[in-house]
């Protein structure tokens, strides 16, 4: 079957692109964007194949399953692959203009394509060790990208990011070693069949989730995220906040649903939910207090990650069936919507920053008002971050609130309501500056190549993903219908 054997494309194409860009640095922009187009096409192709044929799997290297490099794509990986393909493409197109005439261009492209390859690798890896390798690769390229500006703050922040990332991966690796010692396999499918409730399995669960939660910046382990994301160049911030953090959450969700259903219990879910609640409240509060636009966006990521963890106690408490399907799909929808929204937000913030020469929120009025399309992007992405209709996160919140009522966990409602109110406050704190007395802009778009990617990403999160969320349910193979 061709469709399964080509499963390596989303990893191989950006990797090849990264090599080419390194080999020919003079033409890095053109080569880079070509590679981005090809990577995007590869990712979307795999998504389409999964949509058409259901779950896919393949083994590289000619060895049988327990030994070879296994790749697999199911609805969950396909959905996130589609996100990384589209968001990655938007970031790449934007980056051409953003880095135009700068020597940082030659450093950006190889690292970015490497990051993209490892990102897709995480989504497609079928065994726990490959996941580790991909995670490590991802962490390295992400920290290097984050330090691209070379400023003192950026380097300090990203060194910390690198160390935290290593700590997270090593904790994860420890759990992998435990599982291998106990069950003799690392394939997720095989392992989930063999896994029995035991101290070893429980330890592995705790270690794995803890390591990944550190990488996902779950409160109170989020301390490294805001400085790292806020000090990177805009396209890099977009990639880090929208995509890289999602990989860790994706893994937690996958392990929770596929590997540990026998072990994970309501108490564990409650702990993660409570940490998520802390993230929502604390992240939103800090975003509201932030003086700089990109710092605001970074704290908003901390809060949004929190919402994803709020789904876990709800999913855990819901018996298999339509209601649980809806919750899982809504959780994925929220992750994807945030991916598009935060990428659009950071790209737009980067344009505002370039125009104004700084990103101090209180002094941004003129710059925001002179670029209507960019302000619109911030507004659309902001609507998705708040969870206003017709954004994808509105649909997610709808399902989440329903889940909280059905499972009787009404206390999460307070968190959701407070988080939504705080998000509205911090988004409109920014937008309020766009309606000042500055002169009227001549037209809507001032710089199409830079403004359009941000706008399209934001519009996808703010409108398309809400009104067109239905196919996600089919892609995930969930019937749902209880929403």
């Amino acid at each position: 079957m061709t469709s399964t054997s080509l499963l390596f494309l989303p990893v191989a194409v950006p990797l090849l692109g990264a090599l080419l860009v390194t080999a020919f640095p003079r033409t890095s922009s053109i080569l880079g964007v070509t590679a981005a187009l090809a990577s995007s096409a590869g990712g979307l192709w795999v998504t389409a194949q999964t949509w058409l044929h259901g779950d896919l799997g393949s083994v590289l290297g000619g060895w049988g399953l327990p030994l070879g490099i296994g790749l697999a794509a199911d609805g969950l990986s396909a959905a996130l692959l589609a996100m990384s393909s589209l968001v990655g493409l938007g970031i790449s197109v934007y980056a051409i203009g953003y880095f135009a005439g700068s020597e940082r261009c030659t450093h950006f492209w190889p690292l970015w394509l490497l990051l993209w390859a490892s990102l897709n690798g995480v989504f497609l890896a079928a065994d726990l060790f490959n996941l580790y390798v991909m995670l490590e690769l991802l962490g390295l390229s992400a920290a290097a990208l984050g330090a691209l500006t070379g400023s003192r703050e950026a380097i300090a922040a990203n060194l910390r990011y690198l160390l935290v990332g290593l700590l997270g991966s090593i904790t994860y690796l420890l759990a992998v070693a435990l599982l291998y010692a106990g069950y003799g396999t690392l394939d997720i499918g095989l392992l989930s069949e063999r896994l029995q409730p035991s101290p070893l399995a429980a330890t592995a669960l705790v270690l794995m989730i803890a390591g990944l939660a550190l990488k996902a910046a779950l409160f109170p382990m989020h301390f490294w995220l805001p400085p790292a994301h806020a000090n990177a160049p805009a396209p890099v911030s977009a990639a880090l906040s929208a995509l890289v953090v999602k990989t860790a959450f994706y893994l937690i969700l996958r392990l929770w649903l596929d590997l540990f259903p026998a072990i994970a219990d309501a108490a564990a879910a409650f702990v993660l939910g409570a940490l998520g609640a802390g993230a929502v409240l604390w992240g939103s509060w800090r975003a509201l207090r932030a003086q700089r636009l990109k710092l605001l966006a970074a704290y908003s990521t901390v809060a949004q990650i929190g919402y994803l963890f709020l789904f876990l106690p709800l999913i855990q408490a819901t018996p298999a069936g339509a209601a649980r399907d809806d919750l899982i799909a809504a959780c994925v929808l929220m992750a994807i919507t945030h991916g598009f929204a935060k990428a659009g937000f950071f790209l737009a913030a980067g344009l505002v920053q370039q125009k104004a020469g700084h990103d101090r929120i209180d002094e941004l009025g003129g710059a925001a008002q002179s670029m209507p399309a960019t302000t619109f992007s911030i507004a659309l992405a902001g609507a998705a971050l708040i969870g206003l209709p017709p954004s994808g996160s509105f649909v997610s919140k709808w399902v989440m609130i329903g889940g909280a009522f059905t499972t009787g966990q009404w206390w999460w409602l307070i968190v959701i309501a407070a988080g939504t109110g705080l998000a509205a406050a911090y988004i409109f704190r920014v937008l309020g500056h766009a309606f000042g007395l500055e002169p009227t802009p001549r037209c809507f778009l001032t710089n199409a190549r830079a403004e359009l990617p941000a706008f399209l990403l934001a519009a996808t999160s703010g409108v398309l993903l809400g009104l067109g969320a239905g196919p996600l349910w089919s892609l995930l193979g969930l019937s749902g219908g209880h929403a």
Partner: protein, 507 residues
């Protein structure tokens, strides 16, 4: 399949898109390109009006118009034309036309017009969506979009007062929106997916769930009451008076306040069902809130010197007539409440247009500056007089019809205390409107106006500013004089009330 069956499924969506698409295109129009912007504006308004006309005709012929899109499994976006939605959709599309004409004149030399008219059109799309919403989910989606689309209009002028007003507006509406969202989802976990149905859908709920249903009603009322400016949730309304006059008209007569009041009607009649709501004791709560609001708004209006502020508090008071009508169990009072949805709209928009004309032409913003404006601007003042007398409830103007039915309905339902509320409110209405009329017509004009602006026009002010209030004033008279004729708001409200109480067999 006959063509009728297909066009019945897309017409409601087309009505929403007929204002949405021109609105989005307007954002792209270059600032100085007035002609193209006006063309888009007028295309949108006239197209919407035309489609609404077709829809009324189709509903009259007995067609069922429904656009249904499944967002995710079990969650449908439904736009449907029923009798109540037709009442609101017609009101908003007609008033949108006059307000657009007025706004084009009003903002002739203002800045940021593409942004303004873009959001202006989005507002109307959202309002039409609210009117046509076939279930609470759809209602909520458009209700929140309305919040977002009105924020830039309130903040439009860019002054610090405008920014502040907009922030307060947003704080109230977002908080209300969250309450509404939680209430709607809670209700849905009990009922599953349900559409609006005349006479309600909750009648058969087991008694054990009644306490939850009461709590849900309070949450919904909290969410809707913010936009409907029920006391004590009305705080944003006087603050958002900083917006330009066409926006105030839109907020007060067509879109925001009406969306809240309309939502209350939907929840009482088509979700709970008025009889079931009465059984749960919810109508008493609603009636008390409405009565307090009516009296409080009128008293506050009496104390304002700013003309727009006085009108704003008057809105707080008058919109609650709609809720008051809904809170009385009996078809006649329901008719009074529902017909006031239209009557308050046309009267209040007339008053706001006139207030805008005084401000633009003479620089008159305060009641105390209005001496003799009737001589300088007779037509505007005549229109203002019609609106004001209508608000007081003097026959034959539209407001009289509403009050008559409300009073009659209260007596029929044995709620005589409502008459006291109505009488007190009428006295207060007279107390804050008659002095204005007296000043305008009988006091001598001052030596010079605060800030007179002479337009190059045959009339007392710019034609685009004068015609809209004159037209709406005439509508107020027609709605009152010809209340008994077919297709009048009263007749239509009567039709709705009959259905809500199950008084006739209908198709």
């Amino acid at each position: 399949m006959s063509p009728l069956l297909t066009w019945t499924t897309w017409l409601p969506a087309a009505i929403v898109f007929s204002s949405l698409i021109p609105g989005l295109l307007i954002f792209l129009v270059k600032e100085e390109d007035c002609n193209r912007r006006t063309l888009l504006n007028m295309t949108g308004t006239l197209l919407t009006l035309l489609l609404v006309g077709v829809l009324i005709w189709g509903v009259f012929l007995g067609g069922v118009f429904e656009t249904r899109v499944t967002i995710v499994p079990g969650l449908d976006l439904v736009l449907r034309a029923d009798a109540l939605s037709m009442l609101f959709v017609t009101l908003s599309s007609v008033l949108w036309l006059v307000t657009t004409i007025y706004a084009i004149g009003y903002l002739e030399h203002a800045s940021n017009r593409s942004r303004f008219f873009g959001f202006f059109s989005l507002c109307v799309s959202a309002t039409v969506g609210i009117a046509l919403a076939g279930n609470l989910f759809t209602f909520l989606v458009f209700y929140e979009i309305l919040t977002l689309a009105t924020y830039p209009l309130v903040a439009h002028s860019g002054t610090s007062a405008a920014t502040r007003g907009a922030r307060i507006y947003l704080a109230y509406t977002i908080a209300g929106g969250i309450a509404l969202l939680i209430g709607v989802v809670w209700l849905r976990t009990l009922t599953g997916p349900v559409d609006f149905v005349e006479r309600g859908v909750l009648t058969d709920m087991p008694a054990a769930l009644h306490p939850q249903l009461i709590a849900i009603f309070l949450l919904l009322l909290l969410g809707l009451g913010v936009k409907a400016a029920l006391v004590p949730l009305h705080g944003w309304l006087p603050q958002s008076m900083v917006a330009p006059a066409p926006v105030s008209s839109l907020l007060h007569a067509v879109a925001v306040v009406k969306a809240g009041a309309f939502g209350i009607l939907r929840v009482v009649y088509d979700v709970y069902g008025v009889e079931f709501a009465s059984e749960l004791g919810l109508l008493t709560i609603l009636g008390a809130a409405a009565s307090v609001t009516i009296l409080y708004g009128s008293v506050m209006a009496l104390r304002q010197d700013g003309l727009k502020k006085r009108l704003a508090y008057s809105t707080v008071s008058q919109v609650s007539y709609i809720a008051l009508g809904a809170s009385i169990l009996g078809p006649i009072a329901s008719i009074g409440g529902m017909v006031h949805l239209v009557h308050q709209g046309i009267m209040k928009i007339t008053l706001f247009f006139c207030a805008g004309n005084y401000a633009e032409t003479l620089g008159v913003h305060k009641v105390s500056e209005m001496d003799g404006v009737g001589r300088r601007m007779p037509w505007t003042t005549l229109a203002f007089t019609v609106g004001a007398l209508g608000m007081i409830g003097i026959p034959p103007i539209a407001g009289f019809v509403s009050k008559w039915y409300l009073g009659l309905g209260a007596v029929e339902a044995g709620k005589d205390w409502v008459l006291l509320v109505l009488a007190a409110s009428t006295l207060l209405n007279a107390g804050y409107f008659l002095p204005i009329l007296y000043k305008a017509w009988f006091r001598p004009p001052p030596e010079s106006w605060p800030h007179e602006h002479v337009f190059d026009s045959r009339f007392e002010t710019l034609g685009a500013l004068l015609w809209p209030p004159v037209i709406t004033a005439v509508l107020c008279l027609i709605a009152g004089l010809f209340a008994a004729s077919p297709f009048s708001p009263l007749e239509w409200a009567t039709l709705i009330a009959r259905r809500e109480y199950g008084l006739i067999e209908f198709r």
